[in-house]
Subunit: 343 residues, 4 copies
Amino acid sequence: MKVSIIGATGYSGLELIRLIQQHSSVDIATLHSFSNQTNLLSNLYPHLKNLEASPLEKINPKDIIEKSETVFLATPSGISKDIALPYIDAGLNVIDLSGDFRLKNSQLYEKWYEKSAPLENYLMRAEYGLAEFRENKESTFIANPGCYATATLLGLAPLVKKQLIEPTSIIVDAKSGISGAGKVPSTSTHFTETNENMTLYKMNSHQHIPEIMQQLTKWDESIPAIQFSTSLIPITRGIFTTIYVRPKKPIAWEELHKLYESTYENAPFVRIQKENVYPTVKQVTASNYCDIGLAYNEITNVITIVSVIDNLVKGAAGQAIQNLNIMANFAENDGLGFIPVYP
Amino acid sequence: MKVSIIGATGYSGLELIRLIQQHSSVDIATLHSFSNQTNLLSNLYPHLKNLEASPLEKINPKDIIEKSETVFLATPSGISKDIALPYIDAGLNVIDLSGDFRLKNSQLYEKWYEKSAPLENYLMRAEYGLAEFRENKESTFIANPGCYATATLLGLAPLVKKQLIEPTSIIVDAKSGISGAGKVPSTSTHFTETNENMTLYKMNSHQHIPEIMQQLTKWDESIPAIQFSTSLIPITRGIFTTIYVRPKKPIAWEELHKLYESTYENAPFVRIQKENVYPTVKQVTASNYCDIGLAYNEITNVITIVSVIDNLVKGAAGQAIQNLNIMANFAENDGLGFIPVYP
Amino acid sequence: MKVSIIGATGYSGLELIRLIQQHSSVDIATLHSFSNQTNLLSNLYPHLKNLEASPLEKINPKDIIEKSETVFLATPSGISKDIALPYIDAGLNVIDLSGDFRLKNSQLYEKWYEKSAPLENYLMRAEYGLAEFRENKESTFIANPGCYATATLLGLAPLVKKQLIEPTSIIVDAKSGISGAGKVPSTSTHFTETNENMTLYKMNSHQHIPEIMQQLTKWDESIPAIQFSTSLIPITRGIFTTIYVRPKKPIAWEELHKLYESTYENAPFVRIQKENVYPTVKQVTASNYCDIGLAYNEITNVITIVSVIDNLVKGAAGQAIQNLNIMANFAENDGLGFIPVYP
Amino acid sequence: MKVSIIGATGYSGLELIRLIQQHSSVDIATLHSFSNQTNLLSNLYPHLKNLEASPLEKINPKDIIEKSETVFLATPSGISKDIALPYIDAGLNVIDLSGDFRLKNSQLYEKWYEKSAPLENYLMRAEYGLAEFRENKESTFIANPGCYATATLLGLAPLVKKQLIEPTSIIVDAKSGISGAGKVPSTSTHFTETNENMTLYKMNSHQHIPEIMQQLTKWDESIPAIQFSTSLIPITRGIFTTIYVRPKKPIAWEELHKLYESTYENAPFVRIQKENVYPTVKQVTASNYCDIGLAYNEITNVITIVSVIDNLVKGAAGQAIQNLNIMANFAENDGLGFIPVYP
């Protein structure tokens, strides 16, 4: 299968290239970037020197439609909603890694993203691509979930789907590595400001909140809201999510564990930890795994869920490939089956 | 005033030396270490090369009592409870940085520390030294609080003292730099395991939980328990505490802010941030400040409190000096009034 | 091909497992560790949770000889020289990642390693496995080079083989990430001591000096010695080598570049950078590449060579696989052809 | 003494504020910044919240001359050469932390800085302020040395002043933390690009080379050039310089050590290490020390000198205060006498 990547010079685009190289059935047809339209990608990124040919080409939809079956949009929010249309119209597989097509409610998009919403009829055709819980596995137009949303939803799904928790009790304390902020330098990603530091940002206002709510309420419509915090920690890759919920009734650890194990028994990338073991963010680095640890505190009646992913893989490019695999009937772990890089 | 430091080669001991050097009225009389009893401290720690004389001496209580008015015990938990006794008996000022004398309930000590408790009559004389809330400012025997406890209690005090929050709602997600684990190498402090990583440890079992509960229930005895998590982040110094509580009634931000400002109006080391500003851990590095940011989410009815300190200063040696200043009627910020090291 | 790994719980052993999983023709038969002989590897290293079976087995040479064609020894120096013998005798492929069989001169081994030398008749059969310059490609007993030696020798080879440089002029300033020190915690690998720090160690005494000299003098016997420094920088993986040499005659950059390009034209893992481009250590992370940048300063008549590798891959496990590929007539990049992990 | 700081929002300016607060005889009169002329400094930098008053004022020379005796210019190169003039004319003490007045040869300035040179008559009045080797201690106009230049010159001075080394043999491999690049974000200071990385930059073209040469040739005019490399390492503060030189005749370590000890016997901030001890960059963090370690390799006849400083203190603001102390007859270590922050 031939694919095109639009947004190839961003971190998610680079990661798509890295992963596709290991895929048995997918090849890159064309690479595109808004910022560099005529260079060799390997001139910008020397780690790619060995890519046989890596020209960045102008974005010519006709040309792309001719050469590719699938288009990955690794573009910032606000861009995809316009440039995706010709590929959808032409019936190509389209996987959008931005937030543009995730929210079914246009008003929510406009409120949280502060941009005009995508066209309704396209929006309706997008499938929210939380890979472990895809509703329509044949959908050819995927809104790939946000990184925080992926870690949070996979951590909450087993309990919420069974409606086992107090609807108002969800508190998510999420921490992200700096690569989540992308490749454009800013004060908040400046080494001297971020190293040896930790910063809470977007208090009660992160744009992944509505997509998490949209999915949670599909599973349990009684959930009215979540408390959700995001902080930056001085690592390059990784999301470490600590989730606190109160079960409606006390629950034994074994029961909790069994619930998670059974929910994910056919999910090759979700790994439930043993008792008293909590995942570290490093144990999934550069891989598509989501590792989940569980604790129940009977004194406070609080379940603590620790859910970790690599934000650029399971939180972006890896899940995008996984979604392609599902859609195209490739093995779900094709291109993704490697061991995390450790240490 | 002449002081002795027992445990001078640990990180808290080193920090005491650094701070005392800047104090206008305190001088070091003797330095002691269990691990090195005959060396020069500057041979072990080259950053101290300029200390005029830094011999490590054997711990001879008689000698220490003769030479010093104050003894700092920067020793691990389980040691202070025995070695502190002669100095208390002799009427010296004793400031213990370990956990040995913090818990008034011996059984709690034995449960959480897994060691036999200190002698009851000594335990009763110890004052829990949360400097901003000292009850007996003339006490000469101080149990200096734990680092997590300091950040958590200063963050919660204004609300809890006024009994404004739902007693069962306290969730503390605390993160610490690696220096909190001390200077003895282990797998959990190994660079290759901790760098680019984040790890949750001591789930529901950190030994600072009981001292936090002891203090909180003094302020509001209706609080039955707290949910308290501790994680390691890859920084050397600093504690970043995110605290979630539900107020009994909705509260305006201005009111919340005013409550904190008034609680701490005479506290030179607690700095309340403006609206929409949350402290970073780096803005207090190497200083005695505790910076606190506040948010209220009216959708979830959750107050988020961000409280940051340098674990070796406000969380250990700095608060110990502050306690000495209070006890000895020195200016509260003598030796501590410097600007944080930034960036 | 079935292989056994002895020393599977060290960082080089773990990296062998990661790489072999991607190899088209190699499978792991058995895993062994001195420190853990009966556990599952995935209990010790949760990133390996998905390895179908990962029992650590006792080291039983007869059993290993029966099950495997190749044995990797990822053991510390001083161990391999004894435990390797049965596999060599049995005619298995043996690839030793330690320093035991690198030095042909037993006295040098005893001087630099402070251990008794390996048996002479085994030592003589070992081939020094600098993969790009293997003399006997059919040798089945490989002494895999040290990480510093690999980066240094690949950086110097083109100039030294042509005897173009002043023999006394070689100065190597090498920097390593902390994983080079292995997984056993120590003060020099403690996070609080290494983070935000840089340390020069083993001044004029690093044990890789004699193997570098042994190889350099094969290429140019007039070289009497090198000046070689090693420092630790606060990164997990990577070696960054800055090499200064004086050419016998001034040399144009283009000529220098052409010399390197031609030397490595058939070497898939050595990538020579363009003019004014110097490799960063991150551009080879988790890959088998050695990237080399070149500069000539006509004012000082000094050539600066920057040579970077990932110490655990090209500097250990990756080169070991590459050596196996050469020996077994697999494609040289089988198991190694992936893109570096960036950022 | 009242002082004004122009460029108060840059890292050197912030460090001046931190150090002056600890000075017994110096107070800040006014603070100025080009980028923010009307804000409170504490709004931009929350670590300064406690500064009693920190308004940033417009740069009005008449006003500054009225209020201050001393002006610190913590401005980028190319700015100081113009804005310094009124304060010099008015007879104020002027300490310029930029490169503008360091080079006596205007043509060299124009070549290396690619800017038009300062006016000759002002340039001639500037004293190069390498504090340990000031020629005119009463000079009131100081060109404060560059950070690399400080570490390099203090490392080389004892040998070069005695003309003990081969003039063509000097090779300096210098590494810097990221704060040396200032506070303006760029790709080369982006966390994801710099963390877990090391990069060589400005190969043979760093603008500190000519000021080093200017000073070295004052001490030994036979030195024709130096080989000088600069690399970025992922730490915030610090310069780690490894210097290789060949002595004209073999030299015993004791003799070398004595030479350095005697050169710096009256220098409170230069600390010579013992045999086989090399300074780490962390042992001088946040302090004005320059720590120097020495080795002689009799096999290669190379002396290795390791010289470390904090680039923002001894390499900028600290040395500026030290120069003021010398000029104003304050104690040389006033405001600078504190212990490094460790760990």
